[in-house]
C-alpha cells in the first residue's frame, strides 16, 4: 500500500511539473504584448515595466526563476491588478469557488442519487423516461443557458412575489442556492445516468437474488445491498468531479456576480496576465491531481484488487 501511495504521489508531482512547464511555454507563445495598453508607453516606462515584472530576462531564465518561486509557493504579482500578489488572489477567491462548488456537489450528488434510483426502480416506465429526458437536457444544454434562465426566473419571482431569491450577488445562504444548483445541474445529470445504469446492474446481480431468497426486508435490501454497491463505482469519478465543479464555475460566477476564482482564471488569459495565468493554472492543476490521488488511494483502500494489480 505504501509503495502504491508513493508511486501515485510521484506521478502526481511529475504531472504538476508538466502542467506548469506546458502552460508557461504555451502562454509565452500566445501572440500579444502583456504590457501593451490603450495608450502607448514611452520606451523608458516600458523598460521600467519589463524590469519590474522580470520580462527583460530571456525566457529560459524567466522559466527557471518561475520554477524556483513556485517551489517556494510564490507566484508573483499580478500584471493587471497592481499591488496584488497572485497568492492573495487565490487565497481570497478560491474559498468562494470552493464553497460554491461544495454546495453544488452536494446538490448534484443528492439529486443524482434521488433521480438515478427513481429512474432505475421505475425502469422503462414514465418516471424513467422523464428523468432521462431531463438528463439529456442537463448534459447537452450549456451551463450559461441555465444560469441566465434561472436568473430571469429569479427576477420574475422578485417582481411578482417579492424578494425571495436574490437575482445575483454573494454573501448569505440565499445568494448561494440558485448559482450552486445551476452549477451542479450538469454534474447531476451526468451522475444520474451513471447511477441509474449502475443500479440496474446491481438489481440483476446474483447476490441480490440471494438476499431476496433470504427474505431480507426491502428497506434493508435497498440501503445495505443495492444502494451501497450502486454508489461505489461512482465514487471513483468523484475526484475529478470535485475538481471540475469547484474550479469550473466561471460562467456561473460571472452571471451571478460571485467573487470566485474562475473569473480571474479566464480574464487573466484574455488580458495576458502572465503571473495570474501561471498561478491559477498550477493551483487548479495541483488541486485536480490531488483529488485524483486521494480518490485513487481511497479506492485502493476499499478494493484490494486495485493495489494488487498495480504491484505486479
Amino acid at each position: 500500500m505504501m509503495r502504491y501511495a508513493i508511486k501515485r504521489i510521484a506521478v502526481g508531482l511529475l504531472t504538476i511539473w508538466f502542467i506548469a512547464t506546458a502552460t508557461f511555454f504555451a502562454m509565452h507563445a500566445v501572440p500579444g504584448d502583456p504590457l501593451a495598453d490603450d495608450k502607448a508607453t514611452t520606451p523608458e516606462i516600458r523598460a521600467a515595466l519589463l524590469q519590474y515584472y522580470g520580462l527583460d530576462q530571456p525566457v529560459l531564465t524567466q522559466y527557471t526563476r518561475f520554477l524556483g518561486n513556485m517551489l517556494r509557493g510564490d507566484f508573483g504579482i499580478s500584471f493587471t491588478q497592481k499591488n496584488r500578489s497572485v497568492n492573495d488572489i487565490i487565497r481570497a477567491h478560491f474559498p468562494v469557488s470552493a464553497l460554491l462548488g461544495c454546495l453544488a456537489l452536494l446538490i448534484s450528488v443528492v439529486g443524482a442519487v434521488l433521480f438515478g434510483v427513481l429512474a432505475a426502480r421505475h425502469h422503462k416506465r414514465w418516471p424513467d423516461y422523464w428523468i432521462m429526458l431531463a438528463v439529456i437536457a442537463g448534459i447537452s444544454v450549456p451551463g450559461f443557458v441555465f444560469a441566465a434562465l434561472a436568473q430571469w426566473l429569479a427576477l420574475k419571482i422578485d417582481q411578482h412575489l417579492g424578494n425571495i431569491i436574490p437575482v445575483a450577488g454573494w454573501g448569505t445562504f440565499r445568494h448561494m442556492l440558485l448559482p450552486a444548483t445551476m452549477l451542479g445541474l450538469g454534474t447531476m445529470a451526468y451522475l444520474t445516468r451513471l447511477l441509474r445504469s449502475s443500479m440496474l446492474d446491481v438489481q440483476q446481480a446474483a447476490y441480490i437474488n440471494t438476499a431476496r431468497a433470504k427474505r431480507l426486508s426491502s428497506t434493508r435490501l435497498f440501503f445495505v445491498h443495492e444502494l451501497k454497491n450502486t454508489v461505489l463505482p461512482v465514487l471513483a469519478l468523484l475526484g475529478p468531479t470535485i475538481a471540475t465543479i469547484t474550479t469550473g464555475g466561471f460562467v456561473v460566477e460571472t452571471v451571478f456576480a460571485i467573487p470566485g476564482l474562475g473569473r480571474y482564471f479566464v480574464q487573466a488569459i484574455q488580458q495576458l496576465d502572465y503571473t495570474v495565468i501561471m498561478g491559477t493554472t498550477v493551483f487548479y492543476g495541483s488541486f485536480l491531481v490531488l483529488m485524483v490521488i486521494v480518490v485513487d488511494l481511497l479506492y485502493a483502500l476499499a478494493d484490494p484488487r486495485i493495489r494488487l494489480q498495480d504491484m505486479r
Binding site: P31, G32, D33, P34, A36, D37, D38, K39, A40, T41, T42, E44, I45, A47, A48, L49, Y52, T80, Q81, K82, N83, R84, D88, I89, A92, H93, V96, A148, Q151, W152, A154, L155, K156, D158, Q159, H160, L161, G162, N163, I164, P166, V167, A168, G169, W170, G171, T172, F173, R174, T254, V255, F256, A257, P259, R263, Y264, Q270, Q271, L272
Partner: protein, 594 residues
C-alpha cells in the same frame, strides 16, 4: 381547456401559463412542443401541493438565515432614510494608486475619494466640465507661471492638512522612471518634467516650488492653455509622503492603505467582491455632500446581470449593452444617454510600401462610407452619433469652429479617386487590404459593414483580422496592418488630447502619419495661450486631416444607461472619473412628478 380551468384561480400558475404561452409563441411554434408544454404544466399542477410544503420549509429556513446574519431581506438600490446608494462595478478597481492608475473604474473610485488642485463642477449652462477650486481656493495663471493658494481647511482624512508639499511629492514620484507611471506624460507641461522622466535631470529640477504650506508656484515649459483642466486628472492628485512610504510599495492596495482627501472615504474593500465609500465628514465641502454612503456590493461585467440587478431594485444605475437596451425599451424604462467623449475612427497605415500611403485610395474609402447608415443600421445603439470631425464639437475650443465636411457617401467621386489611385500605384486591381479589429461582436459588425461597402462600390477586397486586445495593440505597434478600427478617449478638455495623436512623435500614431505642416501647427498651438488665435489653429489642423484623409473619423459613441428615478444630480464626465455621485441627492418623490 379543462386544465386551464383547473388552475385559473391560482395566480402563480396563471402567470406560469402566460409565460409558457408567450415562450411558445416566440420560439416553439410546432404543435408537438405546445403539447409538451401542456403536459409539463399538468405535471406541475400535480406536484404543486408537495412544492408548497417545501416552500414553507424553505421560508422557515430563510427566516432563520436572515435573523442569523441580521441583514434585511431586501437591500434597496436607493435608501432615502439612510441616504445610501447601491451600485455595481464592471471590474475590481485594478489600481487605486493615483500615481500609476490608468483605467476608468479606478478613476471612478478616485474621483470620490481624492481631490486635486481643481475639480469639476456644473455651471449655469449645465456643463459638467466647468472648473472650480478643489484643494486650491484660488489660482492665477500668468504666462508660464501658475500660483495656487490652498484652502486651510483642506484635510487628509486623518485630520492633517493637505499641503503644497504633497503635490510636489506626488509629481516627483510619478515622474521617477522606476515608478513606471503610464500617465507620467500628462505631467510633461511642468518645466523639466519630460527630462526628469527620461532620466536626464534629477527630480529636484522640477519646475514646482513650495513657497509655504499653502502656496504652490508652478513653472511650465510653455504657456499651456489647458493646464487648469489637467490639475483635475488623477496623476495630479496629492499624495502624502509619510503615508505613501509607510505602505512600502502597497499604497492604494487596500482600503486602509489609501489616504483620502475627497468627499468620501474608502472604508471597506473586499477584493473582487465589494467596496464601501462613506461620506468624509472632514472634507472641506462636506456640507454639500448629501449621500452618507455608496455601497458597491456587486462586481460583474455581464450586462444582463447588471440589468437584472437594476430591475430587481438592487442597484441604482446600470449601463446598457446593445441587447439590454432592447429589453429596456420593451419595458418602457426611462433610458438616458451620455456622449462619453470617445471618438472611433479608421486608422491608415501610412508606412512606406503600404497601399494606403496613397492619398487617393484613402479618399476613395472615405467617400464610400455612409456614416448615417453605419450608426443607424449597423451600430443601432441610442447615444452614438455619426461624425466627420477629428475634434469633437463638445470641446470648449472647437464649439465655434464648425468646419464639417459632408457625411454621406459619394460613390461617383469615390470611383474617380480609385481610378487615380490605381494609376498612381500602377496596378489594375488594388491588392486585398487587411483591416485590424478588436475581437468584439459590435466592432466586428462594423468591420463587416465596411468590408461589404468597399467590395460592392469599389471592388476592393478587405480582409478582417480579428485579434484579442493585446495582440491588436502589438500588431498596431509593429505596423502589421493596412487599416484599423480604433477608438480614442480624451484625457482633458482640450483639442490637444486628440490633435497630439497624429503628431509625428506620438507613440499612439500607429499608422506613422507624417506631415511637417501638421507638426508645425501642432507646436504652434501648444505654445499659444487659450483664445481665438489658438482655436483657429485647430480648425486648420482639421482641414489638413480632411485634405490628407489622414484618418477617417466615424462615430462619437455614447453610454446608454438606466438610473433610479429618485437620484438627482448624478453628473457624467468625459474624463477623470465617471459617473460623479459626490453631490448626488436622493429625492424620493422625484419619480412621481410627471
Amino acid at each position: 381547456m379543462e386544465d386551464r380551468g383547473e388552475f385559473s384561480h391560482n395566480p402563480l400558475m396563471n402567470w406560469l401559463a402566460q409565460q409558457c404561452a408567450r415562450l411558445s409563441r416566440l420560439r416553439l411554434s410546432s404543435r408537438g412542443s405546445r403539447l409538451l408544454l401542456r403536459m409539463l404544466l399538468r405535471m406541475l399542477s400535480r406536484l404543486l401541493p408537495r412544492l408548497l410544503s417545501h416552500a414553507v420549509l424553505y421560508a422557515a429556513l430563510l427566516a432563520a438565515n436572515t435573523s442569523m446574519t441580521g441583514r434585511a431581506i431586501a437591500d434597496s438600490a436607493v435608501d432615502a432614510d439612510t441616504h445610501t446608494v447601491r451600485l455595481a462595478l464592471t471590474t475590481e478597481p485594478p489600481d487605486l494608486d493615483s500615481l500609476t492608475s490608468t483605467d476608468s473604474v479606478s478613476f471612478f473610485i478616485l474621483l470620490h475619494t481624492q481631490e486635486g488642485l481643481l475639480t469639476y463642477t456644473t455651471d449655469a449652462q449645465g456643463n459638467n466640465d466647468a472648473l472650480t477650486g478643489g484643494v486650491a481656493e484660488s489660482w492665477q495663471m500668468d504666462g508660464t507661471t501658475v500660483r495656487f493658494t490652498l484652502r486651510d481647511n483642506a484635510r487628509w482624512c486623518d485630520g492633517k492638512p493637505v499641503t503644497a508639499r504633497d503635490f510636489l511629492f506626488a509629481w516627483q514620484t510619478a515622474l521617477n522612471p522606476s515608478t513606471a507611471s503610464r500617465y507620467a506624460f500628462i505631467l510633461y507641461p511642468l518645466k523639466n518634467a519630460e527630462k526628469i522622466h527620461r532620466g536626464q535631470l534629477p527630480a529636484s529640477a522640477l519646475g514646482v516650488f513650495v513657497e509655504d504650506d499653502r502656496h504652490l508656484r508652478i513653472e511650465l515649459e510653455q504657456p499651456t492653455a489647458y493646464f487648469a483642466s489637467l490639475t483635475t486628472f488623477p496623476t495630479y492628485f496629492p499624495v502624502r509622503e509619510d503615508f505613501y512610504r509607510a505602505q512600502q510599495g502597497r499604497y492604494g492596495a487596500d482600503a486602509d492603505k489609501l489616504l483620502c482627501n475627497g468627499a468620501f472615504r474608502l472604508t471597506e474593500w473586499t477584493h473582487g467582491a465589494s467596496l464601501t465609500l462613506q461620506r468624509n465628514p472632514g472634507y472641506w465641502h462636506a456640507n454639500s455632500v448629501s449621500l452618507q454612503a455608496i455601497h458597491i456590493p456587486h462586481i460583474t461585467n455581464d450586462p444582463n446581470t447588471l440589468f437584472n440587478l437594476f430591475q430587481s431594485g438592487d442597484i441604482a444605475l446600470a449601463e446598457l449593452s446593445q441587447d439590454t437596451v432592447r429589453l429596456a425599451l420593451q419595458q418602457r424604462l426611462y433610458i438616458q444617454d451620455f456622449g462619453n467623449g470617445m471618438l472611433t475612427y479608421l486608422e491608415f497605415n501610412h508606412r512606406e510600401g503600404k497601399a494606403l500611403r496613397n492619398q487617393h485610395l484613402r479618399r476613395a474609402i472615405s467617400l464610400v462610407i455612409n456614416r448615417q447608415e453605419l450608426v443607424n443600421k449597423v451600430i443601432a445603439a441610442p447615444g452614438t452619433h455619426a461624425t466627420t470631425r477629428f475634434f469633437p464639437a463638445w470641446l470648449a475650443a472647437i464649439a465655434d469652429n464648425n468646419l464639417s465636411p459632408a457625411s454621406g457617401a459619394d460613390i461617383v467621386a469615390a470611383r474617380h479617386a480609385l481610378q487615380q489611385a490605381k494609376q498612381e500605384l500602377g496596378v489594375d486591381k488594388i491588392p486585398p487590404l487587411v483591416m485590424l479589429v478588436y475581437d468584439s461582436p459590435s466592432v466586428i459588425r462594423q468591420a463587416e459593414y465596411l468590408q461589404r461597402v468597399l467590395q460592392e462600390n469599389l471592388g476592393v477586397t478587405m480582409i478582417i483580422d480579428k485579434q484579442i486586445f493585446k495582440q491588436k495593440l502589438a500588431k498596431l505597434a509593429a505596423g502589421d496592418f493596412d487599416l484599423s478600427l480604433s477608438a480614442w478617449g480624451p484625457d482633458y478638455n482640450d483639442p490637444m488630447t486628440f490633435a497630439d495623436l497624429l503628431g509625428s512623435a506620438n507613440e499612439n500614431n500607429h499608422g506613422q502619419y507624417r506631415n511637417p505642416a501638421y507638426d508645425a501647427l501642432l507646436q504652434q498651438a501648444a505654445a499659444l495661450p487659450a483664445g481665438a488665435e489658438r482655436n483657429t489653429l485647430f480648425g486648420r489642423l482639421q482641414q489638413i486631416i480632411d485634405e490628407d484623409v489622414a484618418v477617417i473619423p466615424l462615430t462619437e459613441p455614447g453610454i446608454v444607461y438606466v438610473q433610479d428615478k429618485s437620484l438627482q444630480d448624478v453628473r457624467r464626465h468625459r474624463f477623470g472619473g465617471d459617473p460623479d455621485l459626490r453631490f448626488t441627492r436622493i429625492v424620493p418623490d422625484a419619480g412621481k412628478t410627471p
